[in-house]
Every structure is written in C-alpha cells, then in structure tokens.
Symmetry: C2
Subunit: 432 residues, 2 copies
Amino acid sequence: MKEISLGLLGLGTVGCGVVKIVENHQDKLKHQVGCSVKVKKALVKDLHKDRLVNIDEKLLTLHAEEVLEDPEIDVVIEVMGGVEEARHYILRALKNRKHVVTANKDLMAVYGSELLAAASENNCDLFYEASVAGGIPILRSLVDGLASDRITKMMGIVNGTTNFILTKMNNEGSSYEEVLHQAQALGFAEADPTSDVEGIDAARKMAILATLGFSMNIELKDVQVKGISSVSEEDLEYSKKLGYTMKLIGIAHREKEKVEVSVAPTLLPHAHPLASVQNEYNAVYVYGEAVGETMFYGPGAGSLPTATAVVSDLVGVMKNMRLGVNGKSMVSPQFQKTLKEKEEVQAKHFLRVHVKDEVGVLSHITNLFSNKGVSFEKILQLPLKEDALAEVVVVTHHASLQRYEDLLEELAGMPMVKEIKSSYRVEGEVAV
Amino acid sequence: MKEISLGLLGLGTVGCGVVKIVENHQDKLKHQVGCSVKVKKALVKDLHKDRLVNIDEKLLTLHAEEVLEDPEIDVVIEVMGGVEEARHYILRALKNRKHVVTANKDLMAVYGSELLAAASENNCDLFYEASVAGGIPILRSLVDGLASDRITKMMGIVNGTTNFILTKMNNEGSSYEEVLHQAQALGFAEADPTSDVEGIDAARKMAILATLGFSMNIELKDVQVKGISSVSEEDLEYSKKLGYTMKLIGIAHREKEKVEVSVAPTLLPHAHPLASVQNEYNAVYVYGEAVGETMFYGPGAGSLPTATAVVSDLVGVMKNMRLGVNGKSMVSPQFQKTLKEKEEVQAKHFLRVHVKDEVGVLSHITNLFSNKGVSFEKILQLPLKEDALAEVVVVTHHASLQRYEDLLEELAGMPMVKEIKSSYRVEGEVAV
C-alpha cells in the first residue's frame, strides 16, 4: 500500500504529541498497518510560533482548504478544539472522503450523531476514542470488549480538573477557591474553569459513554448537571466523618429500558474503588449483567495520553483502509431513548441545614421527613457558635428525586430553617 | 447475510453461559452483526447429563467430527479445556475454514503461535480474549487501544484463586492450608489446585500478555515462576508491619529491548493500586511510554464473565465475516525476543532468616551483604522463643538477581544460619 498522508487541524500540545508519536513509532506503525505514515499538512494560526516539535515550516498552513481539499490527504486529525468551526471542517473532510479522527468531546457530545451519519454516508471512518478519558481505551471496550453484555450502569470520574481540586481540598482541608488557584497555576485548570468546575465537560463525556453503552442517542441536554463550585470545606469534613469521600461522579443508569444520566458531586464510601482515584486521574466503572463489575483507570487528559488515543484511532483507520472496510464499523443506536422521570430516580442524599437552635426543631424536621416518605439513615444535630443556630446533617435512605425535591422545597419554607447549606447525592453503603 | 451457525466443543459452565447469552441477546447480536446466530451442534461427553441451560438433545453429539466437519458450521467455540485434544480439534476446524474462538489459556500459552499461524494460512480468525482475565477486555486494549504506545511494563493479578487465598490469609490471619480448603469448598479452587497455587496458570496468562504487549513470541518456558504454597502467616504478618501487602504478581518488563517475565509472590506497598484488588478479582496494570499508568480491573474468571468475553470475540468474528476480512487482523510478533540475564534483573527483596542468637551474628550477616554489594533498606532482629534462635528480617535495596541469589547461597552455608525461611520480591517504595 502507498504511504498514508495525514492532515492536522490544529497543532497545539495534542497535535504536537501526534506528530511526535507518528515520527518515533514509524517502525511499529509500519509493522501494524503495512505502510508508512507521514504528516503532509497542518493547519495553524501562526506560522512562526515556537512549537513542542521540530516541524518543517513548509508543512504548516493558515488555510483549512489546504488540508480539507488536498486529494492526497487520506486522514484528517482534528485537534483544534471548539465546536462550530471544527464541525464545519469535519463535515467538509468527510464529504471529500477523508477519514477523521477527533479528540473533541465538546463537538461529539453535541453533533456526534450528525457527524457519524455523515461519515457513514461517505463510507468514511470517524473515530473519537480520545474524546473521553484520553488515556483509557474505554469507548473501544464498550463497543467491542463488552459487545455481548447488557450494560446497566456506568459510574465515572471523567474530569481530571475537578478530581484534582476535590482531592486537594480533601487531603489538605483547603477551600475551593484556594485549590482552584493552585490548579490554575499548575496548568490543571484553565483561566476560565467554568466548563470543568460546573460539570459540563464531564456531562459531555457521560453523554458519549451512555450513547455507546446503552445504544441510545443520549445528548448533552439529557444529562442532569451539578458542578463543584459550591462544595465547601465543611461538606468535605462531614463527608469524611460519615465515612464518605466526595467525588464529581457521572452516573448513567438503565433500569427497565429507562435511563438516567447525571453528573454531580457525590458521596462514595471510602472503600468504593472510585473513592481512591486521586488527583487528575480518571476511572470508569462499568456494570454489565453478565460480566459484573469492571473498572478502567488511567490518565484522563494530558497531551501524550490524548495523542496516544488519537494515534490508536489512526491505526484503526489505517487497518480498515488496508482491508477496504472503512465506514462500516459504526453501529447506530439500537434503542429509543426514554429518560427516567424524577419519580423514578431513586437515590440517597446528604443534606446540611442551618436551623434555629430551639426546642422541638429537630422533631419538626423529622416529622416533615416522615410526612414526605423520606426516611433517614443518619441524623446529627450540632450547635453552631453564631446566632443561636444549630446545624443538622442528614443522610437519607433511598427516595425518589421527586419526593426529595418536594421535601427540600418545604424545608426551605419552614420558619425555623435558616438556610439549606448543601445537598449531595450518596452512592453505596458505609459499613456501620 | 445468512444465519451464522456455531459449533461448540464442550458444554460446561462456560459453554452453557455462551448458549444462554447467544439466546438472550439475539436482538443485540442481530443489530450489531446484521444476522441471527444459532448453536447448531455441541460436543459433549454425556448426552443425558443435567445442564445449566435447556438445550435440545438433538443438538448434542459425542463425535467431534459432527462439529468439525459440518460445512454449515461457521464458527467453532472451544470451551472444553485441556491441551492436546483441543489443539488437534482447533487445527482441524481451521483447516476446514472455520473461525475459532477459544477461552483456553493453557493451549494458547503453549501452542498460540502455531495456532495463530494456521488461522492466518486458512484466512480464518482465531480469537482468545477469554483466555486472560475473562471479564477484562485486556488483550483488545493492548492490541488496539494502546496500539500506538510503547508498552514497557505490565504488572498483574491474573489468577483469581491465589488472590482469593492471599486475601483471606491476609484479612483473617489464617494458614495457607485452611484457606485453600475453604476455597475448594466454595469452588474457588480445584480439587487439584497445583496449576493455580504454583503460579502456572498465571504464568500462562503473562506469556500471552507479554507476547501481545511487547510484540515478541514469549513462551511459557520463558516465564520465571514461583507459587504461593509456601507463603506463611508469619510472612504476611511481617509484610503488613513493614507496610506491604503480599500478592501473586505477574511482571513483564522491557528495558532496552530485553525482557523479563515472571510470576511470584510479591510485596506491594499498601497504597499500590494492585494491593487493594480483593478476593477473586483480577487487575492488570499497564505502563506505556506515552500514556503512563492505566489499569484494567474486573472478574478474572467465572462462567458468565468468561462467556461474555467469548461472545464478544464471536461478535468480532461475525463482523469480520460481514466485511469479508477474516484472518487479517493478526499481526505476527515484530521483535526478536531477548530475555534478561540474571545480572540484568534488578529487584528489591524481602528475606526472613533464622539464625543462632549469638553475639556478632548480625554483623556477620551485614558484612556478607556488603561484600556481595547488596545494600538494605530495613533490617530487624527479633529473638525467637525456641532454641536460642533469632529471626532476622531484611528488605534490600535494588540489586541484580544474580547477586541476590549468590548472597542467598552463601548465607545458607554460614554456620550461624539455621534456615532461610522465606524470600520474596518487593515492588515499589513504602513511604517511611
């Protein structure tokens, strides 16, 4: 087979990582796919910028069409990020019968089904392993490795920035703001951290995972999202005392063909395997009916892990080219999506409330719980220094989200309740 | 595409699991591969035995040729176990242009390269994901997911029986014999547990992993093996006190194109991710130059996890049939194998020795260590009740295996040394 030519859209850290791996692993790639591979063109914004790799300036261009319209380019690698422009370029590449590998979760979470359909129409491959948990081959495992199982639940730590922040807050007792600044200084969080800390990045990944794992077209808007920006040191302290570790957890759960997909700060028992995933690492737990529990653990981001995933996809594309079977590996979602109603989402909750420190307050609150049909596993009342207030901390038994939200609303309106300080989901049991 | 017909060799728990999954997941399989699948014949030893699935007796046969020679059977699933007969049947199936899926690690560890070559010659697929860590799609991840990385080290708990035994010994302080009996009663260990407890089963899996991960033809005889049958309660006690957990660890390590593959009881720091893998679970840690650390965790055996892996392979075969590309996915090993010499294997060791409780003994021993160029990280001497003996426990710094073995030999010959009680490899550092 002739040499395979690549066109890159973007040449930041991931793009440079791809160039480096393709150069350094020529022998291995040639052995695996039977021909050599070279980068023919890379779209950049600045021709003369210093880069992490030595690359001939003649290979750089400011014009996307030199990548998208060059008939010699076989595979386009999109590592520029952003949504609208990337979508436009990828559609054009596919129309020109170029295979595409992308690391762009923002794009795949929003336009995944459109792009995959376009790829299929044009008999092209569109691979995106790098878009979820860069260093973990989780998409491939869901599609191939667990192909014959029925996946009922996925739980994951799929955002490195928030896991880094929560790990530090937990270990050092520091505040969210302090640790966020540290993370920004270390390059683990962006200047505008909104998409990470508000859970949007994690929600995108959960949409992609749920789509593949459940074979349903789950979109970003289907994911219930809550971020970590309001998590306080007190919350972490109470979690610890009660035997839990707080993590930003994505959950995708299927019961009787109805699904729930959410991202939220969640209390896990210390012994839960996801509780010990530290710093910027990611991990995805998968429950299959036949296989039981499996877990995939690895670096969630970083330029080299992400570039590795991109090149692994590239190897997949090239193997398909050799066999002449591109564009046939995609299986469109099998099932209609039905999202669970709030009545159908069962969960345990941690709740922290400030109340007036008066006789009978606790019994008013416990009465409300029992009227609403929400029972509790644990309840603590502690006096607070200021203003004759007390703090009440509750861990509930399983209750429907509808009931729990009704309860929260009524609680907030009670005259003896000063403020609902926080409320988090709880997964799993702590041994008493 | 026409219906795909399967022939089973063996119908034990895994075989029955395959039948069940194929029946229950007809819709999913049809959606994924575009045609239905049915079991046409199953080779058994007893036609009238009670089985875990309802299967029409007409589908059973005592004669292998009814599976191997039936031109209508497309895929043969070997779940009978054993080596010579299985090899013979698989070769015959491949010769008759039947694709083969096997869960047989014993076979693949010994005859893997012969069988894969036969498959390739006949344009047939031969898939064997189920042979290593049944519930974890690790082979697929090594071949595809980490395709573009250079894997330098794999460490794994790849035998569920021994991990179950060590977990119980460690948690309950029970003896090896006690726990082995428990494990046999629970069905976690076989009546003749030799292959598990002596590390041979784990060695077979490490040979398969190393062959794929390093792209070298690593055979069972290349693996250094030590089992757990001589591990004592005292060893586990000392390990714990020193900050380590003992696990039966398979290591495959590549440095400068030379490799070491071994299986041995090994001391890991409590914080090491493999140290917390409990009971019958398996986990494989993979270190890639680009991706860094990743870990795959799941059930190592069990009929349903193994059957799931078999059916996932079957889906792979059927997809290839649809695309007409069977027999082309195998990549033969790229590199010549060079095993490390004992001088080149660097490791730390735990050593427990009984010595005469006399003045100057410890200095004799420390002199020997320093003469042999083996330095130590920790040394403890404790008096023993019996016979004026003392116990010396040492954790060494890294030293070559050659040096360490020389030291052991000389130590055993010293007049003040009564007995070398135990010696284990140590991986990783314990924070002081």
